[in-house]
């Protein structure tokens, strides 16, 4: 964005502040795409300083010195239109078919490479661009005076038979290499400040509202503002679209989640189906490993898949141990071991009795003196023998107890998760039945229970093992099947959650972007109409001149809307009542209105073109408006070189009648497209003719004639010197504004002469010697005129007029 425009934006931000985020985005967007991207990524930058803009200079300007055309349209052999560089009105008049428009069109083609008038016309129209009588060598050229560079020549030519689009164009600036047209830097400006206006364009000026908008908008230099708005809108749309696209994927994802019978899918769906999807919850579910949460069906399946029956070896060992223990017990019971242990117990009790009470009778059978020392010795030996016998029985008991304990360990109750319905393909009921049968082992009360238990193990274990192994395998398969179904969906869900979170984060900038856009839209409206205002004022002034008796009054001119609804709002009143501009206007009025807008636009400060070319503006105009037109053109010609091509005499007539200073050239065409140009009237000639007419009026009092006629003669010489001075100064490449200032400041004849001769108004003293060197009589005439302004002339006035004519011819010739 250019600094001046950025300044306007910053100033407006002070008046109507935006919040920090929105302002940051706005200013970044003013800077460009990259800056906006960075700001959207969260980069914070300093607010630019105001007042960085400098005054904004006018671009280097250019005037036309000549237009030469050869073999193009109505012109055969080379014809050159000589022009006076500098502000002024030149009317080029010629009948239809005289070739005058070929100069205007030639200039347009020369500079732009195309003819706007031809757009949309069929090839039949375009094919006649070469002159019939001179088709081999088509060449267009223009002499220019470039500000800062001096004289230059632009040229465009075609090879024999080459199509219109294949031309070569070059520019030769005095003292430089011949280069391409880009040296002038006019490509864009020829569009923005288009200095050409043809009658057909006048007619089409209002054909589409958006085109007229572009015509006006492009000269305001606000493209950067539009670009900034586009940039912000693109960022907003990208984010909104991103969010919308992710949102549009959600119903499909939810449907797929619903179609899968999986508790994780259900949980994800619950998390995402709400008004505000819980992305974090869904993502953590989708990312978790299967069965990480032990509760639920998956947890149960996992337990089922890990379920195992007691190992075969263990079961076998336990059964064997039970049987061996049973054998040992039986063996111990059959021997005297039990009796021995019982007897040893009895004898120990008797021995205790003997120790407590001493020798005596037998406490069991009553045999007297049975207990004595000898009995004691014998009994102790007997107990030792009996103890050995009973230890064997004890060992069998212990073995049976151990075997029973091992067996008990095998018969755990069925686990809880085995109860309950089938989980998919894993049906636990067979296994449960087998397990219950296994666990329902015989009791330990029966005398033969060791053998019974062993038998139970051997009989029930195979069924249990088979059922449990099958169930575990089924559960495993079911788990795997569920995993296969879920894994892609989990990946999809996780990916979607990631995208949704990213889109959501990006969309966080949307409210700020919207604020910035709204602010800019508002600003755009005001800024563009601020910039348009001076142009609109001029347009209204011109319209009031041109409209004459029209009852249509032009009010404010505003640019409204944007993109496809952009248009120029011409507020118009008809007899004081507001109306729709174009509906109520005649074609002539529309043309006048178009001209009212074209002129200020083509003469706006930013344009390098100090010339404008208007082709046939008079066609549909009321006679009274031609006078208005002449005065409007006179006004425009004060600061611009205005070239007007016209096919009838109404405009030249009005110029003569109103005494408007202008150069009128007549274009005529003879056989074979030989075109010649003849000056009909020049500013010098205008004065001389008036002087001559006064000489011829016998009724004019001599004293008045003696005062007025020398004054007119002096004006003629001044006009000649002024033209020469402009030429001289412009050829040096001086800034155009300086040239005009110098010319305007040279308020005396002598200063003008010095400016023309030496480029320096202060060298008035050198003027007479130079004139004397040219021709003695020229110096004499000059002296007479310089004095005559103040005193009445005493000599022959007729002679003075013819002397003046000779002097102006000499000036033109010497200072060419």
């Amino acid at each position: 964005m250019d600094d001046a425009l950025l300044d306007v934006v910053l100033a407006r931000l002070d008046e109507r502040p935006l919040d920090e985020h929105a302002e940051g985005l706005l200013l970044a967007a003013c800077e460009g795409d990259e800056a906006l991207d960075a700001a959207l990524r969260g980069q914070v930058r300093d607010r630019p300083e105001r007042g960085a803009a400098d005054g904004g200079d006018e671009p280097a300007g250019a005037y036309l010195r000549s237009v030469a055309v050869q073999g193009f349209r109505g012109i055969g052999p080379a014809a050159t239109l000589e022009l006076q560089a500098g502000p002024g009105l030149t009317v080029i008049a010629g009948r239809n078919g005289s070739g005058k428009s070929s100069f205007a069109e030639g200039l347009e083609v020369l500079l732009t490479g195309e003819l706007r008038r031809w757009r949309g016309l069929s090839a039949v129209w375009r094919d006649g661009w070469r002159n019939l009588h001179h088709a081999d060598d088509t060449r267009l050229a223009a002499g220019l005076v470039l500000e800062g560079a001096g004289p230059a020549t632009v040229e465009r030519s075609w090879d024999t038979g080459a199509p219109f689009a294949e031309s070569r164009a070059s520019v030769q600036v005095a003292g430089e290499q011949r280069t391409g047209l880009e040296r002038l830097g006019w490509q864009d400006k020829l569009v923005t400040y288009r200095p050409f206006l043809s009658h057909s364009e006048l007619e089409a000026f209002f054909s589409t509202p958006s085109e007229l908008y572009e015509l006006l908008f492009s000269v305001l230099g606000l493209e950067d503002l539009t670009a900034t708005e586009k940039r912000l809108n693109a960022a907003r749309r990208e984010r909104e679209d991103g969010r919308k696209a992710v949102g549009q994927e959600l119903p499909g994802l939810l449907a797929r989640l619903e179609s899968v019978d999986d508790e994780r899918a259900r949980a994800c769906r619950e998390a995402l189906a709400g008004k505000k999807p819980d992305l974090e919850a869904a993502r953590s579910i989708a990312a978790s490993s299967p069965g990480a949460r032990p509760e639920g069906e998956l947890g149960r399946l996992r337990q089922l898949s890990q379920l195992a029956a007691p190992a075969k070896e263990e079961a076998g060992e336990v059964a064997t141990a039970l049987r061996e223990a049973a054998e040992a017990v039986t063996a111990a019971a059959g021997s005297q071991a039990g009796r021995a242990r019982d007897l040893a117990g009895l004898l120990r009790s008797a021995l205790g009795h003997y120790r407590s009470h001493g020798a005596g009778p037998c406490p069991v059978c009553g045999q007297s003196a049975a207990l004595d020392e000898r009995w004691r010795e014998r009994t102790e030996r007997e107990i030792a023998r009996l103890d050995e016998q009973s230890a064997q029985a004890q060992q069998a008991h212990d073995q049976a107890a151990a075997a029973r304990a091992r067996a008990r360990g095998l018969f755990a109750a069925p686990p809880d998760f085995l109860a309950g319905p089938a989980a998919g393909a894993a049906d636990p009921r067979t296994a449960l039945t087998a397990w219950q049968a296994w666990a329902g082992h015989p009791g330990e009360d029966a005398p033969d229970h060791l053998r019974l238990l062993a038998g139970h193990i051997e009989q029930a274990w195979p069924a249990l093992a088979e059922a449990v192994t099958a169930l575990a395998a089924d559960a495993q398969a079911e788990l795997r099947a569920r995993e296969d179904r879920w894994a892609p969906l989990a990946a999809e869900t996780a990916a979607w959650c990631g995208r949704a979170a990213a889109a959501e984060a990006a969309a966080g900038a949307v409210p700020a972007l919207k604020k910035a856009i709204t602010w800019l839209k508002d600003a755009n409206d005001d800024i563009r109409n601020d910039r348009l205002a001076p142009l609109a004022v001029q347009a209204r002034a011109i319209w009031s001149r041109l409209r004459q008796e029209s009852n249509v009054d032009l009010g404010a001119v505003r640019l409204t809307g944007s993109s496809t609804r952009r248009q120029v709002d011409l507020s118009v009143t008809v007899d004081g009542a507001p109306g729709a501009a174009l509906a109520v206007m005649s074609q002539g009025e529309v043309n006048a209105l178009a001209l009212s807008i074209f002129l200020p636009r083509a003469t706006i400060a930013g344009s390098p073109f100090r010339f404008l070319v208007i082709d046939d503006p008079v066609q549909a105009m009321d006679p009274a408006k031609v006078e208005g037109l002449a005065r409007v053109l006179e006004q425009a010609a004060r600061s611009r070189q205005v070239l007007v091509f016209t096919h009838d005499d109404r405009l030249p007539e009005a110029i003569r009648r109103l005494g408007i200073t202008a150069r009128i050239l007549e274009v005529t065409r003879r056989r074979d497209s030989a075109v010649s140009i003849r000056p009909m009237l020049t500013p010098v000639e205008q004065q001389l003719r008036q002087a001559a007419d006064l000489c011829a009026d016998a009724a004019l009092p001599a004293n008045v004639a003696a005062r007025v006629i020398p004054g007119l003669c002096r004006l003629a010489v001044e006009a000649a010197f002024t033209e020469a001075a402009r030429r001289a100064l412009l050829d040096r490449g001086r800034p155009l504004a300086d040239v005009e200032a110098d010319v305007a400041a040279a308020d005396k004849l002598t200063k003008k002469a010095a400016l023309a001769m030496f480029g320096d108004a202060s060298k008035g003293g050198d003027v007479l010697p130079r004139l004397n060197a040219w021709r003695r009589s020229a110096a004499d005439t000059y002296q007479v005129l310089n004095k005559g302004a103040h005193d009445a002339h005493s000599g022959s006035l007729r002679a003075l007029v013819s002397d003046t004519r000779a002097l102006t011819d000499l000036i033109t010739q010497k200072l060419r």
């Binding site: 006078e627 007419d693 006064l694 009724a699 004019l700 009092p701 004293n703 008045v704 007025v708």
Partner: protein, 110 residues
Amino acid sequence: MLDDPTFASLGGWPRAVALLTRQALEQAIGQFWTTRPATLGVAGCSMKTQLTCLPAYLRPDLAREVSYVWAALSNACHYHPYELSPTSGELSGWIDTTAALLEAMASRTA
């Protein structure tokens, strides 16, 4: 004549108005010459001559404006093939301008 509707039924009134206005302007210019002895004779010259001489004695932009209006009135007074009569709007505009010019010229004569 412009305001009175009875004239509307008569053809040619626009030219009559233009003619009268031009006469008023010409008379004023004539009077302007007679206010000083040196220019007494100019009043008898053709209007074209008078207008050519005017800038030498009157403020140039004022003289130029007088010329514009006289030329416009003169054009309206003459019959031109294919041209229509001036409208009442144009005419009242010229009358206003003429009145303003007369006043301005009168103040410059002293």
